[in-house]
Amino acid sequence: MKRYRPVAAVAAAVVLIQLATLILGKGFYLTQLTMSAYYVLAALGLCLVMGYAGQISLGQAGFFALGGYTTAFLTTRDLTDLGGTAFFTVLQGLGLVIPKETLYGGTVIHLSPWVSLAVALILAAAAAYLLGVPVLRLRGHYLAMATMGFGLIVYRIVLGTRLFGEADGLVNVPGFALVPGLEVSGEMSSRIANYYIAWLVVLLVLVLLINLINSRVGRALRSLHGGEEAASAMGVDTARYKVKVFVIGAVLSALAGFLMTHYNGGIGPSEAGVAKSVRYVAIVAVGGMANLWGTLMVGSVLNFLSLRGVFGHYDEAVFGLVLVVMMTFFPGGILGAGTLRTFKVRLVEILNRVRRNRKEVIHG
């Protein structure tokens, strides 16, 4: 049970932060803290892919958008015209359609988000599988480029398709009722509840991922990062494991996108942008790659600050800068042991190189 202790610490921090906002009268912070949780969820999925399976993916935002747009699209259609068809009757029988009154007194019938949740996750898994099987044969930069290509495709599709609202995105997405009286939505009255729902999901996923990493499969995954040949020689079907991890990462990102879309009541194309994917990569890198805790902490802080607008117009630039600084000075993340020493070593290395180059310029 020792391995769950940090989870308990995070849970305590979640409660303390909520109480702090209450005491300080900053309840509005909870909105950004809730959104941060969903971004962290997507980053945790990437942490598994990058840190533990050693695969760089620049397509995480594509999966996030896939989850968000799928539910936004499906739950805002009016199904009245389908009435009477066998498909509709089945859905109705299962209680998976929701009739609603419109502003003008008419009724529309919407699909239950439970259905779109299933569709979103299955779509993300299928897309990741189809993308992963050929692409995961590639290594390093090639994989990064191929996944970035996927991200660009998703971005361009949502931006250029009328049905997906083009540059405006999709709006008026209804709340997602978990149980009667408790729904994922941006209603002011349920702000505290939503904060806890979001972080509960994060904690739950964290527990699942910790379990995975500490299992037989997890050991094989940890060995992939750098020891692929050995893992294969010991009987690990490395190609298949990589695809599975990629699928898990994609499903988590799609789940995050799904929940965020119901929370915000909509989704726009910027969520699919490559800049967002780079942001996820930066978070995982700062957290120390194979470090779920690092991803969690860095992801919450940076996303919160970004959502509060602390970085102003330079939002994306900050994440870019973070990536440059990390790769140059802290390739092992900032939360690992020996961080300061690595920093010094790298700094001296770089300064020496600069000095040498200058000499060459002067004397050569």
């Binding site: 379990n211 037989r216 050991r219 990062h225 020891g227 050995a230 009987g235």
Partner: protein, 264 residues
């Protein structure tokens, strides 16, 4: 040879027939055939560049042969991947150590136990009863190996902090953790001192005495001559001799290209 093959009791664990590998215009291995008898220790020797490691890699599935056939346990396995060979019971060590740095000694060795478990992604995530039980059993099963290799006190140590000799031991333990029927050792004595080499020789014999078959590629002549039941000699990709150590030591061709060359 012919009468051996016609003998119904003759059942080699590994049979290599007409194995050939060319890289571009270079013929690294040319038409090599031999058997490895069940429960024996066999060595493949030869000067540098003779094609030993290439041959090894074809048997372990690292890359497929250009021509020829590999039979393991009576089944044709030519072109199978390393993980498939591992599942069949062929496990190997590497000449240039391939340990998973960042992982503990125990985790490295448990990786070798992979084929003996079955818990998957979902079982792992849910920490299912089966998955946890399997994990406990795996640790119990590999602990005697650590003891056997004097690694018990180092179980939790990060593998990168070990001496070279200890790292070699971890590689051996990792391969044995998978309960191999055939153990392939790629230059297991390289980089070891005399004392460590003696330990290794004793251990290889103990492995054989457990009923496993061992095939090794080796430079260290004394090790090979002392412990092997049979030796095959390669030169420029071709098999030039095969037999028991005494015959190999007296073989003119071998002395000329290999032993003689080394003494000179």
């Amino acid at each position: 040879m012919a009468d051996l093959l016609s003998n119904p009791g003759f059942n080699p664990i590994l049979r290599v027939e007409g194995l050939h590998k060319s890289f571009g215009g270079l013929h690294a291995v040319k038409d090599v055939s031999f058997n490895v008898n069940r429960g024996s220790i066999k060595a493949v020797i030869g000067p540098n560049g003779a094609g030993k490691t290439t041959l090894f890699n074809m048997m372990a599935g690292t890359f497929p042969p250009s021509a020829g056939r590999v039979c393991f346990n009576g089944e044709t396995v030519t072109g199978e991947k390393p993980f498939q060979m591992a599942r069949r019971g062929l496990l190997r060590t590497f000449q240039n150590l391939k340990l998973c740095t960042g992982l503990s000694v125990l985790d490295n060795i448990l990786l070798g136990h992979h084929t003996r478990g079955s818990a998957g992604f979902l079982g792992g995530m849910g920490a299912s009863r089966k998955s946890r039980r399997e994990e406990r059993r795996a640790v119990e099963e590999v602990m005697p190996l650590l003891e056997w290799l004097d690694l018990t006190g180092l179980a939790r140590t990060e593998v990168g902090n070990l001496s070279f000799g200890q790292q070699r031991s971890v590689e051996l333990a990792r391969a044995l953790a998978g309960d191999p029927a055939l153990l392939l050792l790629d230059e297991p004595a390289a980089g070891l001192n005399m004392h460590e080499t003696e330990d290794l020789a004793r251990r290889i014999q103990e492995v054989r005495d457990q009923g496993r078959t061992v095939l090794l590629v080796e430079h260290d002549m004394s090790l090979v001559m002392d412990i092997c039941d049979e030796i095959a000699v390669l030169n420029f990709g071709e098999k030039i001799a095969e037999g028991i150590p005494r015959d190999i030591q007296g073989n003119e061709a071998v002395i000329r290209v290999y032993l003689g060359g080394e003494d000179a």
